[in-house]
Structure formats: C-alpha cells, structure tokens
Symmetry: C2
Subunit: 573 residues, 2 copies
C-alpha cells in the first residue's frame, strides 16, 4: 500500500472523478482500514475521520463501497476485484487513457473461480495496463490457506494461465517497487506480484499467528504492547510522506446520448425480443461511445453479435465466463461506460453474487438475459430461466423489464441505458408478433392495458410470451360473451401500482397473473405486493410450479399451465 | 466415450444404483446424444428409445437429468461437472469403495471459474480416483475457443494447478486407453486427459468447421451424404461391442438414521441459531455416517467446525470456493451422502447456478447460510444476505427454513436431513433467547402462533430475529390495551397456508409481515401468496427497502424499519 499510494500510482488526491487517475481496487475488502489510512495519509480524507470506522453515520464502512468516490466497486465478497479490474483496464483502452489499474487480492480469495475467469480474460485481452498483487500471508479465516507460503505453487497457477508472475517479499519496499517497475515494462500481458507477507508483521505476538482474523486488539495492555512495538520500528528522521504523482490530464469531448431512432417494424411482424435487443444495441451505440457490450460466447443466440459486427472495439468477449463478464461490466460502468452484458437468463444465476455487489455499488450495468422460461422448448430445464425475475427483483435498486414485442424491447433498451443504476431485461427465444406501433412510448415503471371494456370479468396480467396467451384467451372468452382486461406488465420493478389497482377496481377485484417463471418472486408476487395497499389480492397465479422437461414450446406452455386454455379456465373459475 | 464405456469403466449395466459402479459425469451436457447412444450400445436402454430424444414424454431430454438413473447430476450449465465429480470421488473414500469417477468437459467450458475451484479442491484432497477429460475441439458456440487447439496452453493451466495432465489425440483409441492407464497409475493426485479432437470428425463437410454447434443435419441430401461417409469408415469384421467390466461388489451395513437427541437448552438461554446449527451437526452425524459437512473457510463463523472436530474424515474443506462446495455436495448427495454445505448466506449467491441445477436434479443437499440480514451489523452490506430467501424460494422444490431459536434450529436440522430433496436453512449471527422447550416439535411446512387472544387487532408474522421484535411489540401494545397475534414462520416453503388464513380471520384480516430481508421474494411475498386464496392480503410489509450500511445490529434493525417500534407503529396505523 505504501509503495502503490506514495510512489507507484499517479492520481490527483483532489480529483476522485479524474478520468486519467490510476485506479486501485481493494479486492480483499475486509482490509478496508489500510485503504482508509492510505487516503488519510494522502490527504484525501481527514485523519480524524478514521475513528468513525463502521459507524452508521460514516461512509467508512466495514468493507469499501462506492459511497466513497475513490471506490469503483464495492468489495467484501472475495474474488470479484480482479474481474472489476479487467473492466477498468478495458475502459482505459476505450477512452484512450494511459491510466493503470492495480488490484490487491488476498491469497485465500484466489481459491474463487471468478479470479481465474478474470485471469483468462486479462490474458486474452493482453491487458498490460493491469497489475494484480496477491497478498500471500498464508492465513485464511479459519485455518492456513491451501497453498500456505508455497510461493512456487502460487506463481505456477498464474504462469499456467499465461500471466507474467513476479514473486516478491511484500515487506521489502524496494523489492516491491522494483517488481512494479517490471510490471510496467511487461508488454502485451498482465502482471501479478505474488507477494510474500506475514499477517500482523511487526507485532511479535500477532505476526504469522492464526486466530487474529477480524479480531481487534483489547484496549489496555494488549493494545499498548502492540503500539509500543510498532513505534519502536519508526525510523527517526524518515522523509515525510511522498506526494503521489499527478496523472496526465486529457480533455475529452462531452459524451452524447444515443437513441434507437425511428423503428422499422410493422404490426404483426414476427420478431423475437432477443432479436430486437440485438437490433437496438448498434443503433444506440452509434450515437454514444459509452455503450459497450459484453458476451459469454452466446452472442449468436442473444443477438449481441449484431453490435460486435458494427463496433468490434467496444465488444468484449469473455468466453464461457459469466462472472468475469459481470465483473468486467462493473468495472467499465464504474469508469463511465454503459455496459450491456448479456447471456442466457439462466446463466446469469452463475453471476448472482456479482449482480448483488453491483446492486450494492449501484452501478450503471444494463443486463439482458435471453431464452427465458419453458418457452425455449427442447433444450430442457438447464437452459430455462425460471427464477431470473425473482433474483433480480430481490435487489431493491435493479429495474426489471420484460417486454413482449420488438418495439417495446427497443424503446426500453434506450430507457434502461440512461436510467441511472442497474437494470435487467428479460428477452424470449420464440418469435412474437409486433403489437405496438413504432411511435408508442414506454416508461420504466409503466404498463400497457391492451384490452379493456366497461364490463371486464377479470384482469389478466402477463408479460413477455404470456401476453399473447392472454390475448388469445381474451378472444376466446369474448366469443363466449365474457370480457377480460389484459395487461402487458413490461416493467416489474418499478411497478405501476396505481394502474394495477385501477384495473383491479374495474374488473371486480379479480386479478389473474400468468408468467413463464416459477411461482416465487416473479409477476405474481410483484402484482400482489403492488395491489395489497388497496386491499386487493391476486386470486389466481398461473406459473410453472415444478421442474420442467424438454418438449416443444407450445406443448410446454400448455403442460405447465400457462397457456391461453388455462387462462380461460382460470377466468371461468 | 468408446474407450470409457467399453474398455475402461467397471459398471454393471443392469444395476444403475450399484454403489461400486464407476461413475461418469457428462459435464458438457449438450453432448447428451452420445451418452444416450453409449447406453444403448451397453444395453442400458433399448436402441429405439434414442428416437424419443427431447420429446415431452421421454426422459432422454436435451441435457441429461437424474430422471435417468445413470445420471448423478443434471448438466447443461457448463463448468459444473468437475465439482460434482469431486464430490462423487470423495464419496468413494467415505464408503471405502474403489470406484473411479470420470468427468468429460468441453474445452470452452474450462473458461468457467468453477472448473478451477474444483481443480484446486481435487488437488488438496489428493483425488487420484478422479479422472477429467477435456474434449479440446477448439470450437465454442459462437467462435473458436480462447485457446483453440493450443494443447500446451491447455495443459499448462492444469499443470499450474498441480494436476497430472496427459495430452492425447482423442481420435486414437489406443492412445486414449494408454492415457487412461496412466491416470489409473497416478497416485495422490488427479489426472486430466487433454484430448485433441475435431468436431464433426469423419464427415468432411462438418469436420472442424464452425456453425454446426447445435445444428441438426437436414434430412435428405445433407444427412445422406454424412451417413454415407460414416458408413464407409466402418471396419468390416470388427469385433462386437466389448462387455463392460463388472465392479467389485461390496455389501455394506444398512444406514441408520441420526437424531439430535435430547436437547440441553433452558428457556431464556442466549444462543445464536448459527451456534445451534453447529451443535446439531455432530449430534446428528454421530448416528448416521451419511451426514457430511462442507465448508468454504468460514467454519469458525457458521460453527460447522464443531462437526470437523468430531468427524474430520467427513468434513470437506473447499477453502473460499462456494461453487466447488455446492458442486461437491451435489456429487456426494447423488451417491448417497447427506451433505450440509454451509457458509455466510450472502455467499451462497456465488453458487446460485449450482443451487438451481441441484434443484433441477432434486438432490438431497442441505444448505445452511449464516449471518443473514442487517442484524449482522458493522461488516456492512457485502456480508448481509438480504436476498437469500428470495433466491431459495424461487426454486419450487427447495424447503426454506428460518428458525429463531436454538431448539427450533436443531429440531429442523434433523427434519431437513431426512426430507428427500434440497433444503435451505437461514441462521442468524446475534444471540437470541431460547423460547421453545426441548420437547417442542417442529414440522417442515409448519408455524408457531406465539401470542394470541380472543381480540387480536392484527397478526404480525416474523421469522428469525424479527420474531423477537414482534414479541417486544406485543408487550408494548399490550400495555396500551392492544392485543396482537404473533407468528413464528419458521418454514417459508412449504408454508402453512391454512394456519395463516386462520390467523388472518381471527385478527380482522389484518396481516403485517416483518423480515430482515429485502422486499422481494421473502416473507411478505410468501405470506401474501399463501393467504390470497382466501381473499386476504398482507397490509403492511416491514422489510429492508434500500441498500444498507455498516452500523450496530439494533441500530440497523431500527434504521431500516424492522424493529419493535416500527411494528407498533404499523399496528397503530
């Protein structure tokens, strides 16, 4: 930390938002106090603030969060920092800055697979502007780490993945500075400093001993003895704190806002919402260089490859590594990009901890998950997302969108790009008819009432593929003389509670939800919560209630109880 | 596949449940047809069943699931098979069997970090009974894989992690058999065959060409040409299919059921539910050798280290690798163990895709997550699980339990151990008073009405730490002459809908939920769904509605609106 903050890194302590500052990610977020101490030493925060650590009224939390302007991504869930560092390093390339990115990890956390996902992407992207440091203190929380102080075994993993690995004594500042120089000189590949340290170095009764992880010194004898030992090691007459080097400052043109522009659809066109997603990205990206797209080797299924074809320099391939994709998106978002990471919605579950931390960080990431629900058909349950709405809606600040046609998809992509904070869009595999005109407008937090009359027997709320089942049910019932109100709930979070309550009022309080999702956490729950304040309930929830199987899409919609026929039955009951 | 199924592996085709059969995991689940074809060849399924592939009425799904008795874990979400293989190999050690475990992966999927989590555990556990095979065909779904056919780069990653890596031509059966022999001879460490293959080998217009991933041949000219080429390669007079070798058969004593026995608690004792979890495990494990415990370096916080001290041979340390822990638990469960993987509830989000696949597999895994909610205090949001109930409840077959005291925790641990299928228990960090007598009984799917009168103004439903806030609110209100009904909803899924409806009826239909969890997918949603059928709603939901901060536990409960004071206010309103 001393070498980084007071010799190696170029940053302006007065300008946390400076685009060209070198960046530091404390992946081992539990070491937050040393980060805050370094800031105090650099004059970023007043020294006396350090004593507010972990207090409700202080931003110096137990683990760093972006409430602090020098923090790009919240850390504290181990193994995420390197992936974020990859995104931050990619951003330097995007804005043509020479800033460097440093990521400090614990040795214990390198057991996390996400570290190795990031490691492979860093090599594939030849990120020589990225420098990782592994603090090999040999101690985990509950026991010695797996590799303890075996520095060769530590380095061998990194070298096996193609990194430039430098083994160094982490207590020898000159050696560390020399290693950082080697890192700066390494071309076309990232460098890791595998740094041997002793936990509690300098305090004889703590150094290298287990049982001190997260334990504070007792005030009195214990603390006094430790301070005395540390103070005895101060070098009399040592130089004052060196000033950090200032970054090269580059002025860049103001970012412009993109738009999907005039849409080309005709009512009734059959277009999968995933295709509309793929069409919207390059349109939006043409007008805004901040728009970047990340893939995990399914771009030809999510249609994000449409963006790749047009803007290959802003398309980042992570291969089959969803955690690296999300982490990289977090880093990019933290530095001003507007990243769209997308894969099959089912495989976003692989990155849920990253999504959770992105929500804690309130980062500007725009996720999209395709191939949702049983409507994907024959590939079977492993490929069907049936819990993605629950997973996303459980985070209070993620906007959750689920459009049913091409027009609403494109319009909502534009909306989500420029709404601050994280957002998620669920797209579908099957082609669905375009039902909205190209001039229709959509707001995050809105809905559309597609069918209504003065005498609606019930309101049926669907989204995505089930909107069309509800419309079919409407037509069937109409022939029998029964009217229903049909709602396209394209925005689950935020949700238009007052419009839903109005629908309930105008249909005798009878609400039915229908969703290509499991029962928990999706449309049924969202609508129930929204209308509860007015005393309404969701009387019938049509949803997938068991682990599904392979089969044909329409066959599965019917088999699992979410087809038009089941809606007709539910209304009848 | 030919080498494995007809020369290398020892298994009895007539006995899928045989404990000593060698095991095969098709981690690249999209290659399911070759697995089904191998079974047909081995006489496990009739050849004509192959034509039912991907039909709703067939168990031969698009990706393999344990509906098929030879499949241990569902695959199709890439990167999970090796972790399951580690668990299956550990199980061999548990039951003292010499069966071997083989895992076939794609090269593309080795980009998944979970593969490297499993790789490190396999080395730490010295699993020489585990053999991985990487099918290096160089083609991903959308493009060439990152390392393409660079066999040295492939092997270097595995060697860097300490594996015995053998590079082999995957089309040379003799070479493959020789490599499998080398794997069997390798002692104290696992072996990987890094196997160079050509996708579509043997069909000139497909071999090595991109664009054929998941694409079927067109009937007619295309199919005829391919079949003709393949048929021309049959060797006339080749030997008939060799018979697989039969495994060594060992008879083992019948498993016995464990129990937590007579509990030692006194009413009012202050015991954290995580401590009670730690106490229950060795009690249960003493009577049942199938009980095993898995950790990710937090056993001293979850208290699973109590089990380690007593039964170290049935305690598996995964270091900080939650995906490896869950995957290994899946493999152990598939082979008859009853695994309890536990970590901080927040970090189970890291393994959500594994949890999803465990649900699809309906495996007997018993998860526990500690340190739930803002009540953990100063460590801050990265360590607070506030979406775990949503994540678990979104899977339709996971039992979701959330006990509030030591007695209910221990009793429910015993219940969850012997309920078939996956289960999750949420435990808390703070100490809470024991409120149940040692003889109290608890059922999964039940609840307890803790306070009630003939004139209850409302029912307050809590679980875990909020039960005590509800009880405090009850006492405060009682002094003001207001009675409330207090429910301990220790089982969220399944949920006792009729008891909740009864409570609603007896308290004027006024339901209030209070939970140390975000708004979506937790107690509020679960109760709302349960009572909707009877026309009731949850009028007020007290829950955490924003990203929280560090602070003291009681301070946070109050700040985020879920303390006794807020319950009193909600009742008043």
């Amino acid at each position: 930390m001393a070498a980084l903050f007071f010799a190696e890194m170029r940053y302006d302590p007065a300008d946390p938002r400076g685009e060209d500052n070198d960046r530091f990610v404390l992946s081992k977020g539990h070491a937050a106090p040393i980060l805050y101490a370094a800031w105090a030493e650099a004059g970023i925060i007043p020294r006396e603030h350090l004593l507010t650590l972990r207090r409700l009224d202080s931003d110096l939390e137990g683990h760093p969060t972006p409430r602090l302007p020098w923090v790009d991504v919240a850390t504290g869930s181990l193994g995420q920092g390197l992936a974020a560092g990859v995104g931050i390093a990619l951003n330097a390339r995007r804005i043509r800055s020479d800033y460097r990115t440093y990521v400090l990890m614990g040795d214990g956390e390198t057991a996390e697979g996400s570290v190795w996902e990031a490691a492979q992407v860093a090599v594939a992207e030849r990120l020589d502007n990225l420098c990782a440091i592994v603090d090999v203190n040999g101690l985990g929380q509950s026991r010695a780490t797996q590799l303890d102080h075996d520095m060769d075994a530590q380095a061998s993993r990194w070298r096996g993945f193609g990194w430039n690995a430098v083994v160094v004594d982490g207590h020898d500042v000159e050696a560390v500075l020399d290693a950082l120089n080697q890192a700066r000189d390494s071309k076309d590949r990232p460098t890791v400093l595998v740094s041997r340290t002793v936990k509690g170095q300098g305090i004889s009764f703590i150094a290298g001993k287990p049982g001190w992880h997260g334990r504070a010194l007792k005030k009195g004898e214990e603390l006094d003895a430790a301070l005395k030992e540390l103070e005895s090691q101060f070098v009399a007459g040592a130089e004052p704190t060196p000033v950090p080097q200032l970054p090269r400052r580059v002025s860049r043109p103001q970012a412009t806002r993109g738009t999907v522009g005039t849409l080309p659809y005709k009512l009734g066109d059959a277009v999968a919402t995933r295709e509309a997603y793929g069409a919207a990205l390059p349109r939006l990206g043409a007008g805004d260089g901040r728009i970047v797209v990340l893939d995990a080797d399914v771009g030809n299924s999510t249609f994000s490859d449409r963006f790749e074809k047009q803007f290959p320099e802003r398309f980042y391939q992570n291969y089959i590594a969803e955690q690296a994709m999300l982490g990289s998106a977090m880093g990019l978002a933290a530095r001003g990009a507007i990243p769209f990471p997308s894969t099959f919605a089912a495989f976003l579950t692989r990155a849920y901890d990253f999504i959770r931390m992105a929500a804690i960080s309130n980062l500007n990431i725009k996720m999209a998950g395709s191939h949702a629900g049983v409507s994907i058909g024959e590939d079977g349950p492993s490929q069907m997302a049936l819990e993605d709405l629950a997973m996303m809606r459980a985070q209070p600040n993620i906007a959750v969108l689920y459009p049913c046609d091409a027009v609403s998809t494109e319009k909502l992509i534009e909306q989500m790009a420029y709404r601050p904070g994280p957002a998620y869009m669920r797209t579908s595999r099957p082609k669905t008819p375009v039902i909205y005109g190209n001039d229709e407008t959509f707001e995050i937090g809105g809905l559309k009432v597609l069918r209504s009359s003065d005498a609606d027997a019930a309101t049926v709320v669907g989204a995505g593929v089930t909107v069309f089942e509800a419309l079919k049910a409407h037509d069937t019932l109409k022939k029998k003389g029964v009217n229903i109100r049909v709602v396209d709930l394209y925005s689950l979070q935020p949700i238009d509670a007052s419009a839903l309550i109005d629908c309930a009022k105008k249909s005798g309080g009878r609400l039915i939800t229908v969703e290509d999702h499991y029962h928990g956490g999706g449309i049924g729950d969202a609508v129930a919560e929204a209308v509860a304040g007015a005393g309404y309930t969701v009387e019938r929830r049509l949803c997938v209630r068991e682990i599904p199987r392979s089969g044909l899409p329409d066959e599965l919609l019917d088999h699992y109880g979410i087809s038009a026929r089941h809606i007709v039955d539910a209304v009848a009951r």
